[in-house]
Amino acid sequence: MRIGVFICHCGSNIAGTVDCPSVAATALTYPDVVFSTDTMYACSEPGQDAIIQAVKEKNLDGVVVASCTPRMHEQTFRRAVERAGLNRYMFEMANIREHVSWIGKTKDLNTNKAAELVRMAVEKLRRNRPLFAKRFETVKRVLVIGGGVAGIQAALDCADGGQEVVLVEREQSIGGKMAKLDKTFPTVDCSSCVLGPKMVDIAQHPNITLYTCSEVESVGGYVGNFQVTIRKKATYVDWSKCTGCGLCVEKCPSRKHPDTFNEGLCTAPSINIPFPQAIPKKAAINAASCIMLTKGKCGVCAKVCPVKCIDFEQKDELVTVDVGAVVVATGYDLFDWHKYPQYGEGRYKDVITSMQYERLLSASGPTGGHIKRPSDGKEPKNVVFIQCVGSRDRSVNRPYCSGFCCMYTAKQAILTKDHVPDSQSFVFYMDIRSPGKMYDEFTRRAMEEYGAQYVRGRVSMIYPQDDKLIVRGADTLAGTQVEVPADLVVLAVGAESARGAVQLGEKLRVAPDQYGFFVESHPKLKPVETNTAGVFLAGACQGPKDIPASVGQGSAAASKVLGLLSKKELESDPAVSRVNPGRCVGCGKCVQTCPFGAIKMIEDRFGNPKAEVIDTVCQGCGICTVTCPQGAIQLEHFTDNQILAEVNALCPPKMFANFE
């Protein structure tokens, strides 16, 4: 074999702490290495051209590049060696940046480590063989999970691009958090006026099938061929008949359970349509509070319904769909501020969340858009906003910035002045984070035009005094303590990962980070991709995001889906398991352990049972390879021989003969 080795400087990223020419010189001493050099940027066009040229000139049949992580540029270099006329699997990479130059300070040790990693790659490459991809067809349908603004955007873009879309939403209506907002920053335009038409488009689009009150039960398959089971939860209303007339809602005698759409500020009837613009505009029964479903009598709704669509016997229903791609747009939840006992833990009625305040401001909210404080319905004069409640706070395990609270607080301060002209807002903040088009100007307007008093400091405690709430905070700019007798306190609660996100991630094989937000494939270059091919992210499920960013990501995810499904066929990764029929004894252990059902039993021509791998189904995990008692099934590109060669490269065999 003739191997060429290329040691990348990566500017000074590697060369700063690794002696690259020396590594290249050492590599020449390794078996089968006939050419070795160092290069400034291997991934650049001249860098790749140099590799191609060397392959041709030196008649190489294998290439090792020592540079960054293979998770970054393995595909880049595979394409390069392919252009040079080699099979793309006749290539190995040694990670001497993330695993060497960036983490070690001593140049000698780094240089030595880099050389050893190159040796490992060479030894593996010596045992590589050309592999060829198989092709398979994809299902031209996409699943969008979550009907907030990001999911709506992704669904509409995919549908407009000609793909069939299945949109699954856990709640009764799509719209997500945005549907609850009164106005949006920095334009102060009406949230439902912006979102409403898009929601209607979802309902009317011929390519979109909408499942609300539904959740993803299970996901199987792989890119291009996912099988998804959706649980349609019982609503006790036949939606094929329901016209959304609202008569049942009006007459329902059980009206005591908290209205979740209105953030618990008021109560809702047990059969309800959450808000006037709901899509679909259908009624659903809350089973936990419905008198008929809990006590077995009542049935008022069934009596008044003009189309007789109430069905107390309805059960959950499971629907199975095949899709080629999945967009996850499950959004976020709001931080539970009860973790701050110094803010009263709910003992003080006039301490509310920013989302509750949105509902108070909203004309469709429980107060018809009049700001009335919950305790006594009085119009507040001194309104205190406390920012960073559940953001940038290690003590509650939320060290990150939620990103949008500064902006919505400025908006709420502006709206407060609009609603109550003789009011005074006080905003306790740590830093104002307003990077965005017209964002900082907006916060300045809150202060300059609307007279909001911004106070730099946190609030240590809130306590009631007569009918006021004393807010005791710091003004660190003045260097002292301050107190505000407030009529209403609004907590700018931060964002946290959506309830159930981690469990959904398990079904989709998309890993959450330590806070439950889904991890993208690359933080800069693959922001909507995940490590599971065919599964994409949109919106705040990946990290806190405001509306423009969520919409942008919805469109980005849709463009990825459209790109994927525009291909007639996809290529499967040929690094899959392969059975050596001569050694296979047909015990079937591999069939039992394969998580993907990618191995089936067949009979050879003598009628002996043998295992066989279905190439396009196999995901290349290699569990079967370890399970096989005969060593008969080997994961291509990661065979026992290849891995043991790497081990031997690092630890040369001593006293025992090889037994591979």
């Binding site: 006992p341 110094q342 833990e345 003992r347 405690m461 306590y463 009631p464 005094q465 007569d466």
Partner: protein
Amino acid sequence: MHNIAYYPGCSGQGTSTEYDRSTRAICQALDIALTDVEDWSCCGSSPAHTVNHVLSAALSARNLAQVEAMGMTRVATPCPSCLSNLRTATHKMKDPDFQSKANALLDTPYRNTVDVQSVLQVLAEHVDPEYIKSKVVNPLTGIKIACYYGCIMNRPPALMQFDHHENPMAMDNLMAAIGAEVVPFPLKVECCGASFGIPRGDIVHKLSGKLLDAGRRLGADCFVTACPLCQMNLDLRQGQINDALHENFKIPIFYYTQLLGYALGLDRAELGFEKLCVDPRRALGKIKQPAQTR
């Protein structure tokens, strides 16, 4: 029957004798046997920890070593300041380096085997409230009480590990159990001025005055406290506070043990109401006498 070592604290011999006596009385009535720590000495109180943490720990640890010598593993103290010092010593001496430094100051080294609790915690966690209710002969019906815990009974929570650090309820529950109306006092853990009464009386006047004001706004007839220093600042200094703030507070400040003892019908002589500076008679007069004759 609980048998617990008892650490009275220095003020129990002086400014808060009524707290010490009433604590002993209610514990006896509720079958909690207290055995005084033999020849106990001062825990160091706040002056010691403001000077040096090893010195402070050693002064506390001498007493904890005495408890060990008595063959006991649990000690209770009525005083939050002592509690805080004893618990801090226990906590810091878990670090072997610190432990050897502290033990180097002592004749008898402390092995760190003693658990320190407040008497209030013993009552709240180890005595069935129903049992206390069953023992009540004079329910406190008719009196409105503000329960004030002071700043260090529950804080910092990681060290004290008792009740709630912003809204403790142990005394509230106890007072409610014996029939009193408890007002939702919002400043339960705000500092009264601590030991600055002597060197900086002005600080105590301001901070304690704020507490009294908050209690008065809620219509409280009296305060109950669990801390000798708080009680002294609020009671003994109430006249000073009135002078300094041009106020006219007349709010009696009880130890919770006194009112508990009252409800249990204990001998008044043991409860020491006469030791209070602000006359408690009007507040006690609010308590409705039981209708039936006994």
